[in-house]
């Protein structure tokens, strides 16, 4: 017989207190990792080859800091060339003009085929080809000869190749031009990821192709472009060490090795290099996080949608004020 007092308002059932599933494998893994970490720390602390005090003394000295600044300058300029030229080549690659498409394809083909180390050395030795780099009418001597004028020269200005192709510029060009080939592929994928309807809507409003690219397509492509560009930047930071072969001396790895070979303390300086690159990469990772967050503006992501909306509701009027980007 049912209990009558129960029927109108049923009692809330007892909360579940079940015994959770055990994961013995996890504890084994923790134990194994714990032992390995302990061995590693023991090695770091007891092995004299690390020579920690010497390393810490040396790794922040002025020549090394100049090397750090040089590496960062190289990183920034090479990435700037890579990104700007990469966008240009990606747009050429997607153009309706078959000649532009062909040039872009050939560029990408060449710079992706040749290793960066080879490029760096090659650019360091370009001075062999031309003693001077001059700007003016091309083939001026040949044109002069055609009209019977010997030694006709139409050159506006020039530099000595050795002056302009200093180690730094050669390294910057080698890394930047090579990076442009990779960036072009990334940017192209980004542009193609944007819905065709976006371009059509913009065209229907009367915008021109260049305006659509700048205001509508590229900002949306950024969401796809930024994460791999972050990876490229980190890879580039490491590749700046290649310009030691150009040779460039104002560069982190060159400076650390120089100290190492001068003092016969090669190993501590290699560890110093590892620590420096870890530090710099970590800084880049923070930058990448904020960039990605900025460019995912207005995009609803399944996991975060609710949190986002709540945030927007809290801001309410604030978002309107921010709308000044137009």
């Amino acid at each position: 017989m049912p209990v009558e007092t129960d029927s109108p308002e049923r009692a809330r059932p007892e909360p579940i207190r079940a015994v959770p599933v055990r994961h013995p494998g996890r504890w084994v893994a923790v134990a194994v990792i714990g032992v390995l970490v302990a061995m590693f720390v023991h090695l770091l602390v007891t092995n004299k080859a690390f020579n920690w005090s010497f390393m810490v003394d040396e790794m922040f000295r002025p020549p090394i800091m100049a090397g750090v600044r040089g590496s960062i300058a190289l990183l920034l300029t090479a990435m700037l060339i890579g990104i700007v030229l990469g966008v240009v080549i990606a747009v050429m690659r997607l153009s309706e003009n078959p000649i532009l498409r062909g040039v872009a394809w050939a560029y990408t083909w060449f710079f992706r085929a040749v290793p960066r180390l080879v490029l760096a050395i090659l650019f360091g030795n370009l001075g062999i080809l031309w003693a001077r780099i001059e700007f003016g009418l091309p083939f001026d001597r040949q044109i002069g000869a055609l009209f019977g004028v010997d030694d006709f020269e139409a050159r506006l200005f020039g530099f000595s190749a050795v002056d302009i192709l200093t180690g730094f510029v050669a390294g910057m060009l080698a890394l930047g031009l090579s990076e442009a080939a990779y960036m072009a592929e990334i940017v192209r994928a980004g542009i193609q990821s944007v819905d065709e309807g976006q371009t059509e809507a913009a065209q229907a409003l009367g915008m021109k192709r260049s305006q659509i690219l700048r205001r509508i397509v590229l900002p949306q492509a950024m969401r796809v472009i930024v994460p791999p560009t972050g990876n490229e930047t980190i890879a580039m930071l490491k590749d700046t060490s290649l310009v030691a072969f150009v040779p460039v001396s104002m560069e982190l790895f060159f400076q650390l090795r120089a100290v190492g070979s001068r003092t016969f303390q090669v190993f501590p300086m290699l560890v110093a290099a590892t620590i420096w690159y870890l530090l710099l990469t970590s800084v880049l990772l923070v930058g990448q996080y904020y960039l990605e967050r900025h460019f995912s503006k207005g995009v609803r992501r399944s996991g975060r949608a609710r949190t986002r909306l709540r945030g927007v509701a809290a801001e309410s009027g604030g978002t309107t004020g921010k709308a000044g980007g137009a």
């Binding site: 409003l205 009367g206 205001r215 509508i216 900002p219 207005g298 604030g318 978002t319 709308a323």
Partner: protein
């Protein structure tokens, strides 16, 4: 290069104070497949023309020809007396430059089935973007007017929202406001309510009715027979790339003359 076959009546000068839209023998092919097989159409200024027809009959393609998103293979289209996409000089047609085509498009607003709002911009930025970018207005005035337009479509409280934070009906209303911001002479609607949940269709149709009352010239591709009957001044039924019949919406809907129209209406009514 597009080759343009000149139709028989091509010698006539463009009509000065004639219809807002005039299409003559418009043909359009995609590769070997002819999608439009000679469309003739006239829409007077202030008229609401409803375009009906089964899926794949070429309605969207025709609409896209009017603002030159598609290049036609033969025939002519004039909007407010201007030949679309080409310039006629010495009996020859010359393709227009990109900037001139863009200028023509500014007078023609278009609303898409899938809204196509710019997802990285707020509702206000979506509406104010084109007038500022195209040098029509200063940023401050454009934003004021954009806010007023959004108010007009009933979204005065949503100007700071991104499209992903709006319902389908709200997004489509922003899209209408965005098109109106360019102060077009003509509005093209391509199934504006087909992607919406049924309960959101009404709010978009209401905005369109309001627009029609204000005297906007509109060509509306739609399956909303009620809207066509109530708001439409003319109804054009298309099938398989040709205009099958046209007339006053009430009459065509009540007494369709062609079997194809009858069959289609039987399905959507």
């Amino acid at each position: 290069m597009t080759e343009l076959t000149v139709p028989a009546q091509a010698g006539e000068p463009a009509v000065e104070s004639g219809p807002m839209v005039r299409a003559e023998q418009v043909h359009k092919s995609f590769g070997p497949i002819e999608v439009l097989k000679g469309i003739d159409l006239e829409v007077r200024s202030g008229e609401v023309c409803c375009l009906l027809g089964p899926s794949g009959s070429g309605k969207s393609t025709f609409l896209r020809c009017i603002n030159h998103l598609e290049k036609i293979n033969a025939g002519r289209i004039w909007v407010d007396g201007d030949l679309i996409g080409y310039r006629e000089r010495g009996g020859k047609l010359h393709e227009m430059r990109e900037s001139d085509v863009a200028a023509q498009r500014r007078a023609i607003g278009m609303v898409f089935q899938r809204f196509n709002l710019f997802p990285h911009m707020t509702a206000l930025q979506n509406v104010a973007e084109a007038p500022v970018l195209l040098g029509r207005e200063k940023k401050a005035t454009a934003r004021e007017r954009a806010a007023a337009l959004l108010e007009r479509v009933g979204l005065g409280d949503k100007i700071g929202n991104y499209p992903s934070q709006l319902s389908g009906g709200q997004q489509q209303r922003v899209a209408i406001a965005r098109a109106l911001a360019m102060q077009p002479k003509l509005m093209l609607f391509d199934e504006p309510t087909s992607a919406l949940d049924p309960e959101l269709v009404g709010e978009v149709l209401d905005v369109m009715k309001d627009l029609a009352r204000d005297g906007m010239t509109m060509i509306v591709v739609t399956h909303e027979i009620g809207f066509a009957r109530e708001v439409g001044d003319s109804l054009v039924f298309m099938d398989d790339g040709v205009v099958v019949e046209s007339g006053v919406p009430r009459e065509v809907i009540a007494n369709p003359r062609h079997d194809r129209t009858k069959a289609f209406l039987a399905k959507v009514l």
